[in-house]
Each structure stands twice: as C-alpha cells, then as structure tokens.
Symmetry: C2
C-alpha cells in the first residue's frame, strides 16, 4: 500500500483482501442468473474488493460458431477469435450494469483493455504477459472489476481466444498477477468429489485437494476445473476453490499446494475414463529407435497417447507396443501406424474399443506398495479382469472392460474407504 | 505511392482507386445477405481495393438493448457502448469469413484496432482522430478491409459508440482520411428522390444532389443518409453515393459539392415532416434579452426548436413568440415555458399539434423570388391554409394542417415539375 493520504472510506475496502471469482457460462446464462451472480458478489464484498471473470452467456458461443459455419465450413481462425470474443464482452457489460444498478462501484474490462497479452496463435493462445496497471488503478475507485475471460491480445493488436479452459485460466492468471488471496471458480457442481457422485453415490465431497491430484482427476475425465488452470495455479501458488454458484453458502473444495498439512490422506479419489481405446502395433523390430519413431509419427499428428507398454513377443527380437488413445483419434492413429509398416517393418495393427480406465489418485501414494495390493484384491475378488496396469507417482490406473468400469470404481472406492474421507 | 520494389501483382490493385463501401443493418441481416454483400464487393474489386464499413446485423442492437433493459431501466452508458459495440464486431468477422471463403484477401478491424479515436462521451461520441497507419499497412497484402462502423475508442482505451448515423459517419471519416475516390452508402432504397415515392408516386430519383440539399432533406425527415455523415463529407470533400444493396447495378444518387456543374437546377425536392408541433408563448415583454432567455432555457434542456417567429401583439410592448418543436419534446417544452412565467412575466403557453411542415429544397433557390410566388399560388389555388412560413437560403417551408400535408407536397412537386428532373 502507498502511504499517500486517502479518505478512510476508500481505504477500508482496499486494504483488505482481493478475491478473484470466476463464473462460467451456465452461471450467467440469462439476466436472472446474472442477477444471482451479482448477489453473490455483493455478499463477498464484505471481505474485500473483487475481480470477477465471466464466460459468455449460456449458448452464445455455440450460436456464434453456428453463424460462422453457415458462412464456410472452415472459417479463418483470426476472424473466429474476433467473433467469439464478443460473447464474453456481452457478459461483462451486462454484469457490470447489474452491479451498478445495485449501487456497487463496478466497471467492465475486455481482455485487451486489461492488457492480457498472448502468443499469436488463434483459437488456443497461451498468455505470455498480463499487465496489472489498469486493474490496480481501477481498484482505487471501484470495488468490482468485471473482466472478460477466454480472451487476449497479441502484440500486434489482434484478438485471440485462449481455447479450452480459457476463462478458468484468465481467472487464475489474474489472481496470480494481482496477488489475490483466493481464486474461486464458481460452477454448477459442489466441488471435487472422491468419485463421480452420479456413478458412485457414496462419493464424498473433498474439502481440500492438492493441485497434482486434481490435475490427474481432470485428465481422467473428472473435469470440474480445467487442468491448464490448475497447472497455472500450482505454478504461481494461487489458492483455488471450486464452488457451486447455486449453493453460494457452501465452501466447496480448496485446491492447494499441500504445504499447509503435514499428514495427508493417502488416496483422494477414483476416476473413470470411458473415452479411451487400446491400440497395439505388433512385431516391432527390437532395434534402437524404432519405438521412438512410432511415437514421433503420432506426435506429429498431435495424437496424445498414454499407458505405453512394450511386451516381448515369443518370436525373438520382436516386440508388441501397446498404448491407449482417445477414441476420437483412433482412425487417425491407425492411419499413422499402417503407414509405418513399410518404413519400419512393423506388423499388424490391433485395437480394442471395449476398455475403460479406472484410476485411483493420491498425492501421497508413492512408495506405499500396499495400495496396489489392496486394489488388485478388490477387483480380483469380484472377478473383474484387468487388461492393463500403469502406475505413476500418484496414480494407479487399471484398464478393464467398459462394462466393468463402474463396478470396479465402486469396489475401489469402498476398498479405500473414500466414503469416509473427512478433509 | 512509395517507390520501393513490389511485385506487379501486388501493385496492380493498389495503385488503383480505393473505394469505401458502407452496408447497413438490413444489408447484413443474415448470412445469405452477408453473402450477397460479399458478391457486390467482389465485383467492385475490379476497380481497386475496398474498405467496407458494416453495421450490426439486423436486430442485434435491439436485442442487446433489450438485454440491458432487463437488467436496469437506465444502464450505465460506458457499459452500454461496450455491449453494443459487439454487434458490429460480429458483422465484420462474419463478412471477413465469407470474403475469405471466396478467395478474397480480407481482414476485419474493430474501431479500436483501426484507431478511430473519439471524445470521451458515451453513446454519441464524435470522432476526434483517425489513424491511417494500420489500414494503409494492411492494404499492402489485403484487398478488402472490413471495418466496424459506429464504434470508436477514447484516449484512455474505453469503447465508445458514435450514436445515430454512426456507421455512415465512420465510412465518410475513413473515406476522407484514406483519400478514397468515393464513399458508397448501400441501403435499402434506390437513392435520394425529389420527394418520398410512397407519398408522391411521380417522385423522381435524383442522379446528383448537393451536400446542402440532402442535409436539408435529411433534417426534414427524408432520411436516406444521416446528416452528420453528409456534413462530414462536405467538410472533407468526400464524394458520397447512396445506392441500393438489392439493386447493385443501379448507380444511385451522387452527393457532391456542386463544383462540377455550373448550371444547376433551382429546386431538388419536397419533404414532409409530420412530427412537429407549433408552440407559442404569449405576451412576452418587449424588453431586450427576453426572447434570448426563453431560447436559452429551452437550449439548456437540449430542446431543438425551429421556425422561430416573433409577432407584435395588439397590446403595446408585448410580443407573441412562436416556434415549432418535435412532438416528443412538447411536454418538456411546456414545462420550461411555464416555469418562465414568474421570472420573465410572460403570458399563456399555447400549442397546436395539427401541423405539418412541407418544405421545398434547392441549393440555387436563393434570390429567386418567383419560387415563393409559385409555391403559394399552388397551395392557395387548392384551398390549403398556410399557418406559418419560413425561408432560408435553400429552403422554403410552410406549415399546413397535418391532413393537408401530402396534398400540399404533391401540388408543390407538380408546380415545380420535379417529376421531370433529369440529373
């Protein structure tokens, strides 16, 4: 704080804690919802000034995409970003108008008005710099700054959008740059659970969870907050909370770095991913560099693979390479692998769509062999066949038949007593 | 043109004449219409590069205003401008997408990307500066630059809108700054007529008209192009054309400074304004400055009055002051005049709603007394009572009963043989 003289009124609010709040599209879907959001903000003002990040209203983005597709099947990406950024611009103006009508000193800012600079990549730009001068100055005579999520500006003045998880990312980046005490992501669920409550009714809401755990969960389809935003929060040590817009009195889940707690639970949740398929390339010559060439060929097509395994084949000197890949990318994957046959002398390409990944996540799992044993016992005892297994520092994933996935997740959830998690 | 080396292809188009084209909301109401606009542009590219200015699609602005009014009856003007400017941003992106899909090198620009600086007055800002660097640079590798009309930027980075006639004004300002050879305002009428063709079927389309004449016509309700844009065009000598989007092969009306023609027709058109009322303030003391105080009191409330007349009253030393005012402002006008009674010692306030202004417009009317005579004869001969008369350099207005207005206009149109106008 500067030491220059200020009126006591102006001082009182701004010496206190700055919060960043983010509301997604469903939370600002219509004027009634925007008014509800404004009430949440009003209540939060008791604690200190607020920066609110909002997404486009409900279906606005879909509507704009539809308009563009009526023009041409593959619209230019620069123009698409310019088009889509209007969605958030509409939301911030309306939310500011509602807040002002309640007597709150609010003001809206587009991404370029704030100075959220991104790389010059349209439709999925990453933030490279974020100016704080405008917002800091505006906080002197405003209590709520409403910032458009999802959008930024290139060095040459073009509008970019940040792609998937863009608004969450804007919120976390602002919280980091403005040194906010907390970044609350308001959404339509209560927070992060030990498992999907729709699948496992005994799933418990987690009061706290570590960045790494929620990242693993998000990557496995249990997506309440985009992994990109979580990674950024981890990088800048931003305290994140996931809260329910429609239950604003609930605390939700706090995502943190784990420094605050010395003793931490071993496992935190179970996640199911049914969108993967298993793919194998047979008879890969056991020559150095061949597996690398396969991976490179897939990476060149932007195909993300996981659970890579290499198993020795009965015929000497030949391996089978197996991995999982998103079902949507299977056709492209097969094309790439078939094209390698001639070049690398590899064999048949096989795939199995009847799989699901069931993962147990826990930041403190590493070096605890009993965990794997408990998991395998729980599945084996119920006759669930495990097709693949992979372990990492804080994740244990097994691939089972798709029909067994939910039952497997429930067995694991029970075996680790996740329904009794307290923190 | 610079003398640096360029490829002949790049040169060919850009040494040739730059045109500015403006399309209003009805012209870009949906994707089919935007595609039609793109075809007009494609054809015009044969002549040279193009800057296109577009308004928001059809009802977009109304929709956004409705959303804001759902929030509060009097939304903040800064936020409204930020909100409304999204309308044009959507149009420019979509038009650029369509043009690109036709293989045309097009690029869109918002008002702030161009650098259209305005005064810091929301909802009706005037342009104070217009940067040409961005557009000039973009013309090196683009053939069509699509610019958002109606919007600008304050020095401090706020988005403003230009108010009524905003997109026409953007187009003319760009044409002036970029030294375009012509500024074509595409709309849904054929051009400027000698009278409203809906009222007077014999009305003729004018091939040319002077800035001053079209200004008078526009002020009198015959509004095909906003007077503000015409004034700007006159100031910078921009050659304006009004053309029909749906009849692109028609030449429309050219609005010019009149320098090109030595002999010019005496009268150009007849306009009717039915939205005025007559207002009188009786027994105004004949003291110097009293009339001035009345005018000032009205001006302070932003009430625009016209046809001011002062007639000596039978009672010595007292005058009656009569003027016309827009009917929408009558209530406020009466309030102001009543409030003056005590202060100035003025008398009763009277008004007459049953009036219409019928005006004959012609840049070369001045000093031609025969014109007034012809006009009065034509009305008198058909028993139309003239309630008020006012003349100016290039306009002769008479106030008649509202029911007589159309007949009066037709009689005048005939008397001056406007149906035989050829240029």
């Amino acid at each position: 704080m500067s030491n220059t003289l200020k009126s006591p009124e102006a001082e009182s609010l701004h010496t206190s804690a700055l919060s960043v709040l983010k509301f997604g599209g469903t939370s600002v879907k219509n004027i009634a919802r925007i008014q509800h959001v404004a009430e949440i903000i009003q209540k939060r003002l008791e604690v200190g000034p607020i920066i609110v990040v909002v997404s486009a209203m409900g279906d606005t983005t879909d509507y704009l995409v539809k308009l563009a597709n009526q023009c041409t099947p593959q619209p230019n990406k620069r123009e698409m970003d310019l088009l889509l950024s209007t969605g958030e611009q509409i939301s911030i103006a309306l939310l500011a108008i509602v807040l002002q009508s309640m007597g709150i000193r609010a003001r809206s800012f587009t991404g370029y008005q704030v100075g959220i600079f991104t790389e010059s990549v349209f439709s999925k730009a990453r933030i490279v710099d974020l100016k704080t001068e405008t917002l800091t100055a505006a906080l002197k005579d405003h209590d709520v700054l409403v910032v458009a999520g999802f959008q930024g500006l290139t060095e040459t003045g073009d509008i970019t959008t940040l792609g998937r998880g863009g608004s969450d990312t804007t919120a976390v980046a602002l919280a980091g740059a403005m040194q906010a005490t907390v970044c609350d992501i308001y959404t339509d669920v209560d927070g992060v659970f030990t498992a999907d409550p729709n699948t496992i009714p005994t799933a418990k809401l987690l009061k706290t969870i570590r960045y790494e755990e929620v990242l693993e969960m998000a990557r496995l389809g249990a997506q309440v907050i985009h992994p990109r935003a979580v990674e950024l929060a981890r990088q800048y040590g931003v305290k994140l909370r996931v809260r329910n817009t429609f239950k604003p009195e609930h605390e939700g889940t706090t995502i943190h770095g784990g420094e605050e707690v010395e003793i931490y639970r071993t496992v935190s949740g179970v996640a199911i991913d049914k969108e993967q398929v298993r793919c194998s390339i047979m008879d890969v010559p056991d020559t150095p560099g061949v597996a690398g060439k396969i991976m490179r060929a897939l990476a060149d097509k932007n195909i993300v693979i996981d659970m890579i395994m290499q198993a020795v084949h009965p015929a000497e000197g030949l391996n089978n390479v197996t991995f999982t890949v998103n079902e949507a990318e299977l056709a492209e994957t097969i094309k790439v692998l078939e094209s390698l046959k001639g070049k690398l002398g590899t064999g048949k390409v096989l795939f199995d769509k009847d799989i699901a990944k069931v993962s147990l996540i826990g930041a403190a799992m590493v070096g605890q062999p009993g965990i794997a044993a408990t998991l395998f016992e729980s599945l084996g005892g119920s006759n669930i066949n495990i097709k693949m297994i992979a372990t990492s520092e804080m994740k244990l994933t097994c691939v089972v038949g798709r029909a067994d996935a939910q039952r497997a997740a429930r067995l694991i959830h029970d075996a680790f007593e996740l329904d009794k998690v307290t923190g």
